[in-house]
């Protein structure tokens, strides 16, 4: 195992795949000469040159579409968005084209492409820079959606994403890029898309948390352990396909569940998981599934309001207390 920053783990994955397959290239704003807005692509220009590491204008719709066309015509693009908040401008290409060209041409076209970048909020950036989009993309048929929480997952899943022959959304976080973690130094380290991981074992309650929320869940679990409550934390890692069997197995043991999701409440991953648990494990539940999400409100700027808005360990503890009837 090697200790790597999150950004390094992603870079190593991209680097390895670029070395392995000449069709893989990186395109996005500030990815080349600037070395990456968050330094994820640092050094790649020097190593692979201007043909394979390409700075774009601030034209998300345009360069996402150029990526889609290049993928259709035999290449394997990695398209970086400076944040998925800007990718909203490119959704015509992601949703209307990348996911549909194969189907509507009766299978004649393949579109192996990775759209990657940070997702959700990163402190006081205001309303337009703080939205979590993983559930939205997961809604659409034809996309695989990954939102990782730790460097090891990032490395193994990024390599899988690049090798996948379908469009993949790969989400990171500005606030996690500097976070260090042990990363497998296994040669050609691959984590299959669609496999979650039990990251903490416990018998009392299941916490499902991914992306940045995983770390909120960990803090809550530590606190709760002091009170004798042992949380089992499942990080689905991939939002779609969702590793439902892993979650259901855990529910059968703990009989209680809290989903922690940095999305607004309506129609998000938390509501989907809640529905699936009632369908698959109704008889095992000792309490209604609870969720900790963002409120149905835009991100505020003011620090005090932001702190209320952003899901906290305290809210997770309260939800656990609720499902364990401890309050």
């Amino acid at each position: 195992m090697a200790e790597l920053q999150f950004r390094e783990a992603i870079k190593h994955a991209i680097d390895e795949e670029m070395g392995r397959d000449e069709r893989v290239f990186v395109m996005g704003e500030e990815v080349a000469e600037y070395n990456g807005a968050y330094k994820v692509t640092e050094g790649l220009l020097d190593k692979y040159g201007y043909r394979r590491v390409i700075d774009t204008p601030i034209s998300e719709l345009g360069f996402a579409g150029i990526g889609v066309g290049a993928a259709m015509n035999g290449l394997r693009p990695i398209i970086e968005f400076m944040t998925f908040n800007f990718a909203v401008l490119a959704t015509d290409q992601i949703i209307n084209h990348a996911t549909k060209v194969k189907y509507m041409t009766g299978g004649q076209i393949s579109c192996p492409i990775v759209f990657r970048g940070p997702n959700a909020s990163a402190g006081q950036l205001g309303a337009t820079h703080s939205v979590s989009y993983d559930s939205m993309y997961a809604h659409f048929p034809g996309l695989k959606v990954i939102y990782v929480s730790e460097p090891d997952d990032a490395k193994g899943l990024m390599k899988s994403a690049i090798r996948d022959d379908n469009p993949v959304i790969f989400m990171e976080s500005e606030q996690m890029y500097g976070m260090k973690g042990e990363v497998s130094d296994e040669e050609d380290y691959i984590i299959p898309i669609g496999k979650g991981k039990i990251k903490r074992e416990g018998d009392d309650v299941t916490l499902v948390a991914h992306g940045k929320m995983y770390h909120v869940a960990v803090q809550a679990a530590k606190q709760l352990a002091k009170d004798g409550i042992e949380c089992e934390i499942i990080d689905p890692r991939t939002v779609k396909p969702l590793d439902l069997p892993l979650i259901i197995e855990s529910i059968k043991k703990t009989n209680r569940c809290v989903v922690v999701d940095e999305a607004h409440p309506f129609g998000g991953l938390a509501s989907e998981i809640g529905f699936l648990i009632q369908r698959e494990a109704f008889d095992y539940l000792d309490a209604p599934v609870q969720r900790v999400c963002l409120p149905d409100v835009n991100a505020p700027f003011a620090k005090n309001l932001f702190d209320i808005w952003f899901p906290s360990p305290k809210q997770v503890i309260d939800a656990v207390n609720q499902v364990t009837y401890r309050n």
Binding site: S59, L61, G106
Partner: protein, 366 residues
């Protein structure tokens, strides 16, 4: 500025299509056609014959498709290309067979010209498994990717960046292929075009971006939906540009060949406005109140197929009899296609779940 009364405030310009100063205000003005003869253009008698046959095939295919639509044989939208056949035909004959073509939803002519058989095309309209897109695409999504026809696309302007990407991959692979992208005048107003033009010029992509300006963005005349001359958009991007008479197949062929050679040689994009005219409505449900009958008749007088036929006869490339043989052959081909489409099976129910992902056993959320 003096305040106006609310009723006098106007945004979109009005009045195109009306008689003004004794003449119809046309959606587009045609540039002059080339004066060159077929031999000057390097077109053999056989090529000319093939061109005529192809244009007539596109015309009759759509006339029959319209009939079948009206008979209720299939649903969805049906956007007819009738009147614009010189654009597809002149272009396809000018390009290499492995150059890329991608277009918008008015795509039947393009598909037929790039190797979709009348059978496969008609069956696709009918939504049959034997269609070019296996019944999954319909009228707007004809495709024949092994012939480098990347398909018709239903989102106005959505395929323009994709064309840039096709060209990007060709440049990346240095394979000597160029890409061409066709879209209507309505797409000129989409941001996707402008983002692509900027990047295409900046990155020297081997792509030709072509506006098929048929004068109308659905029911809105070009002069009512976009400012100034469309071709002049190129100036802002320092891009090479041209205006072509799209009612004359020789003009399209000549200029597109010249442009394709330039793109192949210099790996630089072009922005081309081909002025043409569609005889039918935007789609089948269009009452066409936005244009005058006289304008339509004026264009039908310079019909591209009739024009080529007249040329062929005048220059004794083919006799009346030989033309009739071609016409009869095409007519039969189309009738057979209707029968083929009618008799073909719809896709099987399990095909609903096919073509979503590359793997054999993909995941579907339930």
């Amino acid at each position: 500025m003096a305040k106006k009364k609310a009723d006098d405030v106007q945004f979109a310009p009005k009045g195109v299509g009306e008689i003004k100063d004794g003449a119809v205000q046309k959606g587009v003005d045609l540039p002059p056609a080339t004066k060159k003869k077929h031999k000057d253009l390097g077109l053999s008698a056989d090529k000319l014959k093939a061109m005529y046959e192809q244009m007539y095939l596109q015309r009759r295919f759509e006339e029959r498709a319209m009939q079948q639509y009206q008979k209720g044989k299939f649903g969805g939208f049906l956007h007819l290309y009738i009147g614009q056949e010189a654009v597809s035909t002149g272009t396809v004959f000018a390009l290499n067979d492995d150059d890329d073509i991608i277009t918008a939803y008015r795509d039947h002519g393009w598909g037929l010209c790039r190797g979709i058989s009348a059978n496969e095309g008609m069956a696709e309209l009918f939504g049959k498994a034997t269609g070019c897109s296996r019944g999954k695409g319909g009228s707007m999504h004809f495709a024949k990717v092994d012939h480098h026809f990347w398909g018709g696309y239903g989102i106005v302007g959505g395929h323009i960046p994709i064309a840039g990407g096709l060209a990007f991959a060709n440049k990346y692979n240095q394979n000597d292929r160029i890409s061409t992208c066709f879209f209507g005048d309505g797409a000129v107003d989409q941001g996707a075009l402008h983002e692509t033009m900027n990047m295409a010029q900046l990155w020297k992509l081997p792509v030709i971006l072509v506006v098929e300006n048929n004068g109308y963005s659905m029911g809105t005349a070009a002069k009512r939906h976009t400012v100034a001359e469309i071709v002049d958009r190129a100036k802002g991007y320092a891009m090479k540009s041209a205006v072509i008479n799209g009612m004359d197949v020789f003009s399209v062929y000549e200029k597109m060949k010249e442009i394709a050679n330039d793109v192949r040689e210099n790996s630089e994009p072009w922005f081309v406005e081909i002025r043409t005219y569609r005889y039918r409505g935007h789609s089948m449900s269009d009452p066409q109140q936005y244009r005058s009958k006289q304008e339509l008749e004026d264009y039908q007088k310079i019909d591209p197929i009739q024009r080529l036929k007249t040329y062929i006869l005048e220059h004794k490339v083919l006799s009346e009899e030989q033309i009739k043989e071609i016409d009869d052959k095409v007519e039969q081909e189309i009738l057979d296609a209707v029968e083929f489409a009618d008799n073909s099976d719809f896709p099987k129910e399990e095909e609903l779940y096919e073509d979503m992902f590359e793997e054999d056993n993909p995941y579907f959320h339930v």
